[in-house]
């Protein structure tokens, strides 16, 4: 069975280590916040200018001056810090973020990523994605293995305009967890009940199945 979005988020949450500063993109990455393991102290960064993002507010707590990078109303926590957007991207560029999780439309076997623009469709903009992918030292890209047409999103080369070049080392899809190295997707973990053949069929880029392939625990 392919992983659900919640299961993808749960698997990523296992990558969290005590003391991590983490930036979670919009979509599946945001769900990771719901699965932070007990006893693991992580701080969430929101690139509009907040470190220590708390949960959504209660109706009474809603405050228009406190939003996250997805423009959702949020709260702060003890130890939170507010700063301006230049300072925020300063900490991103100087690699103080321990883990960055973001979605993508396509990833290539060289580690290129495309997630901001579809030619012919209306362009909304890259927001902070280009800064994040070019700067972060530890990125997990998470997405479905295929697009709604059933085409693989793990490609020899991206077909869409790039967000960043040779910057992605790890991808988690609903079918498997991949390490990108030496110009190939190395399947290191596979979703329970999914066959290697299915993964092969749905990976357009070069695939290497790890000798130590594990099944993702859900």
């Amino acid at each position: 069975m392919a992983l659900t979005k919640e299961q993808i988020a749960q698997r990523i949450a296992k990558e969290l280590k005590n003391g991590y500063y983490v930036n979670l993109g919009i979509g599946i990455p945001t769900l990771v916040a719901n699965y932070i393991p007990k006893g693991i102290d992580v701080v969430l960064q929101s690139e509009n200018g907040l470190l220590g993002m708390g949960p959504f507010p209660t109706e009474e707590e809603v405050d228009a001056d406190f939003i996250n990078a997805g423009k959702q109303t949020i709260t702060t926590l003890p130890g939170s810090v507010i700063f301006d957007s230049a300072y925020s991207f300063g900490m991103i560029r100087s690699q103080r973020i321990d883990l960055t999780v973001l979605g993508a439309m396509e990833v290539s076997q060289n580690g290129d990523i495309a997630n901001w623009k579809i030619p012919g469709k209306l362009i909304k903009g890259m927001g902070g994605a280009m800064d994040l992918v070019a700067s972060a030292k530890n990125i997990i890209v998470t997405m479905m293995q295929t697009n709604p047409k059933g085409e693989s999103k793990l490609l020899p080369e991206c077909t869409l305009p790039l967000t960043g070049k040779k910057c992605i080392q790890r991808v988690l899809t609903d079918l498997g967890f991949y390490e990108i190295k030496d110009g190939a997707f190395h399947l290191t973990e596979i979703a329970p009940g999914v066959t290697v053949d299915e993964v092969k069929a749905k990976t357009a880029g070069k695939l290497v199945v790890s000798a130590t392939l594990k099944t993702i625990e859900v």
């Binding site: 929101s46 690139e47 509009n48 200018g49 907040l50 949960p55 959504f56 507010p57 209660t58 109706e59 009474e60 707590e61 809603v62 405050d63 228009a64 001056d65 406190f66 939003i67 996250n68 997805g70 423009k71 959702q72 109303t73 949020i74 702060t76 507010i82 700063f83 301006d84 957007s85 230049a86 925020s88 991207f89 991103i92 560029r93 290129d112 209306l122 362009i123 909304k124 903009g125 890259m126 927001g127 902070g128 994605a129 280009m130 800064d131 070019a134 700067s135 305009p161 790039l162 967000t163 960043g164 070049k165 040779k166």
Partner: protein, 231 residues
Amino acid sequence: MNKVVANADEAVKDIPDNAVLMLGGFGLCGIPENSIAALIRKGVKGLTCISNNAGVDDFGIGLMLQTRQVKKMISSYVGENAEFERQLLSGELEVELIPQGTLATRCMMAGYGIPAFFTPAGVGTEIAEGKETRVFDGKEYLMEYAFKSDFAIVKAWKGDTAGNLIYRGTARNFNPMMAMAGKITIAEVEELVPEGALDPNEIHTAGIFVNRIFKGEKYEKRIEQRTVRRS
């Protein structure tokens, strides 16, 4: 040092057609609501707006799009705006998209008197087209320039008559850098206090960068995504 002007109309009265403006805010958070309303009343045209976002159809910069006052947007993200889409597709509106960190830093550098700097954002993408690249310690960077703007319009929480500003929460966002970056900087504040009422240690923007300040009226502070949890 008294930089107080009577109101928003007074503050924006000499902004000419075709001016390049910086407008603070992220989404609808921390935007200069009163100044935008005054720009619409004034009817100034052909504006180039440097702002992270373009508002929504009926709030923020979106209002100036409705009135066709904007010639060009320089932003990092411009979704959530149907009129914007229409003008963009019809060719009425120009858009230049810039990575958010680069946008913030190009504002900051203008305030810091640094004409150019290097950032990795956008290397190998279409953003890099025509730009000088350079390798430092084995990593490739783009050279980016400080923005030039005629007016910067920012929104703060508290300000004193000398133009010193304090922002509140994530409404800070782009405002401090833009405040430093305008040839003329206009600040609107929720609370206007006398000199000495703000702790010198807690001020986010030094008044030296602010040319005009006024107390804004009736802040709506529209929320774009009202997300709540059960209490």
